[in-house]
C-alpha cells in the first residue's frame, strides 16, 4: 500500500482525521449543497461574507478521505479571500487536480492533492468542495455534483 502514499499524503490524512472549519456556521450569508449520489459524498457549505471577502467558511458532510481533506484544505485556503480570488484559486486547483500541474507557491497546501489526477475516478472527490463553493459564491442555489 505504500505506493499510495502519493495520493494519501500525511497532510491529507491529517485533514481527514481532523477536518478544519467543520460544523454549521450560524448566520451564514451563503449556503450551498454538494452531493455525489453514486459515491454518497455529501456536503453542506456555509459562507459568511464581509463586503466581497469570505470572512468565514465552514462545512458539514461525509465522504471519503480525498473529499473530506480537499474540503478542509479549501476552507483554510479561501478564508479571507475575495470572491474573485477564490474563484481564481479554484481555476488553478482544477488544473492541478486534473493534470498534476502546480503553478504557484501559493498552492503549497493544495499541492498535497496533486497526485489525484493519476486516479481519474477520485478527481470528482477532490473537486466537489470547490464546485460547491463556486455555486455558493455565484448564488446559483442548485445542488452540485461532480459525478
Amino acid at each position: 500500500m505504500t505506493e499510495l502514499r502519493d495520493l494519501y499524503q500525511q497532510l491529507i490524512l491529517d485533514h481527514n482525521q481532523h477536518p478544519r472549519n467543520f460544523g454549521v456556521l450560524e448566520g451564514a450569508d451563503l449556503m450551498a449543497r454538494g452531493n455525489n449520489p453514486l459515491c454518497g459524498d455529501q456536503l453542506d457549505l456555509y459562507v459568511a461574507l464581509e463586503d466581497d471577502s469570505i470572512k468565514d467558511i465552514r462545512f458539514e458532510g461525509s465522504g471519503c478521505a480525498i473529499f473530506k481533506s480537499s474540503t478542509s484544505i479549501m476552507t483554510t485556503v479561501v478564508k479571507g479571500k475575495t470572491r474573485g480570488e477564490a474563484l481564481e484559486i479554484f481555476e488553478r486547483f482544477h488544473r492541478l487536480a486534473t493534470t498534476g500541474e502546480v503553478d504557484s507557491a501559493e498552492m503549497v497546501k493544495l499541492a498535497a492533492l496533486a497526485s489525484v489526477y493519476k486516479y481519474p475516478v477520485r478527481v470528482k472527490c477532490a473537486l466537489l468542495a470547490w464546485r460547491t463553493l463556486e455555486t455558493a459564491l455565484q448564488e446559483q442555489g442548485e445542488i452540485v455534483s461532480t459525478e
Binding site: M1, E3, L13, G40, A65, K68, R122
Partner: protein, 415 residues
C-alpha cells in the same frame, strides 16, 4: 445429491484445478496476484463459456427461427438448447423461460406487461427494505403509472426480514409481492416460503429476484411455487447481456406483450397484429443468441461442478470469512450469522471508497458504495459500505489476504 449428502470435508472443491479454467484470474494487479471478491456484482467466466460464445460467432452465426439454411438451423438449435438447460436448472417447462437482458429487464417486463394491465388505485405492491434498485424502481414506476400503492416489509435490527411486520403489510389489497430471494447486501436467504404463503392467502402473485440465489444454490420453481422468477447470466459464470424470466405459463399466456417488434408476432397487418406463442411473445427483435448459448455453457459448467457442492463450498468459505473478518480490529460486519458468500462491512475510521482503493493496490477487488440498495444502507444508517463476495474459485488464502489487507489499510490510514 442433496445438500445433506455432501460431506463437509468431501465437498471442498478442487479449487486449484478449477481456477485454471478462468483465464481472468491468472493475472497480477499492481504487482500482486488478483484476488477477485466482487462476485455479487459479476463473476469471472470459465474458458468453456468464452469458447461457446466465440465458437457461435466463428461457426454458427445466423439469426434464429427464420433462416432456412444450415447455419440458421444450428443457431436456432443452440439457442433453444440453452433455453432447455435453463428450464432443467430451475425445474420449469421450456415455454415458461423468457430470455431477457438480465434481472433488471426481467422485472421490468413483469412490471410493465403484467403491472400496467392488472394494477390500479387501491391495489398494493409489496416489496422489502432490502431490495436491489432493480426490484424497487420498476415497481415505483408501476405504482406511479397505475395509481397503485407501493408498500414494503421492513427489516429487523439483525438485518433480517421482519416476518411479523410482513403479516400486516401483506393484506387484502396486495396484488403483487416482489422480493429478493438472497440479498446482494446481507447475503441472507429470505423466508420466501412463509412470504409466499402470506401472498397466497390474499391471492397475490409472487415474484422472486433470484439474481444472487440462482448462482449459489439449487433454485426449483416448482418447490418455490413462485409466479415469476428473475435472474442474470453474468452472476453465474455466463456472459453479460442475458438473463431469465420464468413465469407460470398461464400467467405468461394471459399477459400483454412487453416490447413489440419482430419475432414476437404471429401475424401482422398495417393496423393490428397477433402475438407469437410464449415464450417468444416476450422476445421481440433478434434475441441474445450468443449470450444465451454462453449461459447454457455456464449452466453445464455449474452442473458438472455440482450445484450442491457450490453451495457447500460457499458455506465453508463463509465460515472462514466470518472468523477472520471478525478478528480484524475495527471491523463492523453487517452480514447476519445466517448470511453467506456476501460480506458487508465497514472498517472504523476509513471510508469504504478509500478502503477499496487501498485494497486495489494489493490486487484485491472489493465493492464499495451503496450496492444499488440505498434503502438497505438507510436501514444501517450509513451512506456506503464495503462488500466482499465469493464464488467457487475463491480460496481460503484469498480471504486471509483480504483480512491482512484490512489490517494494512488501518495502519496506513492512521499515518
Amino acid at each position: 445429491m442433496t445438500q445433506a449428502a455432501v460431506d463437509a470435508t468431501e465437498s471442498l472443491l478442487d479449487v486449484e484445478r478449477l481456477r485454471a479454467d478462468f483465464p481472468a484470474l491468472a493475472q497480477t494487479v499492481n504487482g500482486r496476484p488478483l484476488v477477485y471478491l466482487d462476485n455479487a456484482a459479476t463473476t469471472q467466466k470459465p474458458i468453456s463459456v468464452i469458447e461457446a460464445v466465440s465458437r457461435f460467432y466463428r461457426e454458427d452465426n445466423a439469426n434464429v427461427h427464420r433462416a432456412i439454411y444450415e447455419l440458421g438451423e444450428r443457431a436456432t438449435r443452440a439457442y433453444e438448447g440453452a433455453r432447455g438447460k435453463v428450464a432443467d436448472l430451475i425445474g420449469a417447462p421450456e415455454r415458461s423461460i423468457v430470455f431477457t437482458s438480465g434481472t433488471t429487464e426481467s422485472i421490468n417486463l413483469v412490471a410493465y406487461a403484467w403491472g400496467r394491465h392488472n394494477l390500479g388505485p387501491g391495489d398494493e405492491i409489496v416489496i422489502t427494505a432490502m431490495e436491489h434498485h432493480s426490484n424497487l424502481v420498476p415497481w415505483q414506476l408501476a405504482a406511479r403509472d397505475t395509481g397503485a400503492t407501493l408498500r414494503h416489509i421492513p427489516l429487523t435490527d439483525d438485518n433480517l426480514l421482519d416476518l411479523e411486520a410482513a403479516r400486516t403489510v401483506i393484506g387484502e389489497r396486495t396484488k403483487m409481492v416482489a422480493l429478493v430471494h438472497k440479498s446482494n447486501v446481507f447475503g441472507v436467504v429470505n423466508p420466501v416460503a412463509e412470504i409466499t404463503a402470506l401472498a397466497r392467502e390474499v391471492g397475490a402473485l409472487v415474484l422472486l429476484d433470484a439474481a444472487q440465489s440462482a448462482p449459489h444454490f439449487r433454485v426449483d420453481v416448482q418447490e418455490l411455487d413462485c409466479d415469476f422468477l428473475a435472474f442474470s447470466g453474468h452472476k453465474m459464470l455466463g456472459p453479460t447481456g442475458v438473463g431469465v424470466l420464468y413465469g407460470k405459463p398461464e400467467l405468461l399466456e394471459a399477459m400483454e406483450p412487453f416490447l413489440g417488434g419482430g419475432e414476437m408476432i404471429s401475424s401482422v397487418n398495417l393496423t393490428e397484429s397477433t402475438w407469437n406463442e410464449i415464450p417468444w411473445k416476450f422476445e421481440a427483435g433478434t434475441p441474445k443468441i450468443a449470450q444465451a448459448i454462453g449461459l447454457g455453457a455456464a449452466i453445464d459448467y455449474l452442473e458438472e461442478v455440482g450445484i450442491d457442492r457450490v453451495t457447500a463450498y460457499l458455506g465453508q468459505l463463509s465460515d472462514h470469512a466470518r472468523q477472520v473478518l471478525s478478528a480484524v480490529p475495527g471491523v463492523t460486519l453487517f452480514t447476519p450469522a445466517v448470511g453467506s458468500a456476501v460480506f458487508l462491512f465497514n472498517l472504523e475510521g476509513i471510508h469504504p471508497h478509500d478502503l477499496a482503493q487501498l485494497l486495489d493496490q494489493e490486487g484485491i477487488a472489493v465493492r464499495a458504495g451503496h450496492h444499488c440498495a440505498q434503502p438497505a444502507m438507510a436501514h444501517l444508517g450509513v451512506a456506503a459500505t464495503a462488500r466482499a463476495s465469493f464464488y467457487i474459485y475463491n480460496t481460503f488464502e484469498e480471504i486471509d489476504r483480504l483480512a491482512e489487507g484490512l489490517n494494512q489499510a488501518r495502519r496506513f490510514m492512521s499515518g
